[in-house]
Amino acid sequence: MDVQGLQMTQPAHPTPGVFKRNPPIAGEAEAIEAAKNGDAEAFSKLYALHKRRVYTLCLRMLGNVSEAEDMTQEAFLHLFRKIGSFRGESAFSTWLHRLTVNLVLMHLRKKGLNLVSLEETINPSEEDAPKRDFGSRDLALTGSVDRVALERAVASLPPGYRMVFVLHDVEGFENNEIATMLECSTGNSKSQLHKARLKLRELLRHPEPAAQPNGLKEVTV
């Protein structure tokens, strides 16, 4: 499969803060170099080090365990084939995450040809949109959000909102990077991110335990 886009390119200048968010892992640099030379055990080590993050990223983007496992498999197969092109100008995890994100987006676009256009995926229906509700301070989140509740709420977001929220607020991509990846404007990314957070606030204030969307029953948090 030919994966076009950002995952195989690295910034001309390493992005400040990348290594802060993705600090080097002990033994990782050696494993990368050994893997570049075809060391099979080094590949095993890289899988063991990164499988959880790659899988979780896929799961959050796709909302489906089976698809997430398939894409995890694809991501590591790509990694094994392309690791020679990693030059260490960004953190290895950042590079791998970018590769994974682009694979997932490609997968969704392929699905979208038969299901729903990318534009519709990015812009959820009126029904899914957050309500314009400022008030009701008695229902506010009192300044703290439980991790488990948030994970569950993220899983029940409409796909377009979930995508932008996961990429920005969880994975740390900038709006302009997300815009490039999703082929939309930066303004659209900002707007979708804001709507996603509003929708999450709504979901966290009024949790609906019985209202799990299709395909998310297997998601455990």
Binding site: A40, S44, K51, T72, Q73, F134, G135, R147, V170, R201
Partner: protein
């Protein structure tokens, strides 16, 4: 997204605030509640202040999701499938090594 450079922050309405909020978040490095230009407005509009607090709490907690918990591993089948695929491709043009253990 609309420009808000000429906006009077102290006199804007809640509707103005709602309209510009995505930009405030985007320009304020994710922390609207500490933006000095908005302090008077937020003090006078507690519902808007509560909204900002909630959205900031959601964004802050989202960062903690970056590190997965221990129960978020893919099944063993994923690694087995990778090994099998690599074995298949190693017989072909890629000639990749086949990792055995994790």
């Amino acid at each position: 997204m609309t420009e808000f450079q000429s906006l009077d922050f102290d006199k804007m309405t809640a509707a103005d605030f709602e309209q510009y909020l995505p930009e405030f978040f985007s320009n304020g490095d994710g922390h609207v509640s500490t933006d000095p230009r908005l302090q008077t407005f937020l003090k006078n509009n507690p519902d808007c202040a509560a909204l900002v607090r909630d959205l900031e709490a959601i964004a802050d907690q989202a960062r903690s999701l970056f590190e997965p918990t221990e129960d978020q591993d893919p099944s063993e089948a994923v690694w087995s499938n990778i090994q099998n695929k690599l074995k298949q491709s190693s017989a072909g043009e890629d000639d990749l090594p086949v990792p055995q253990t994790i």
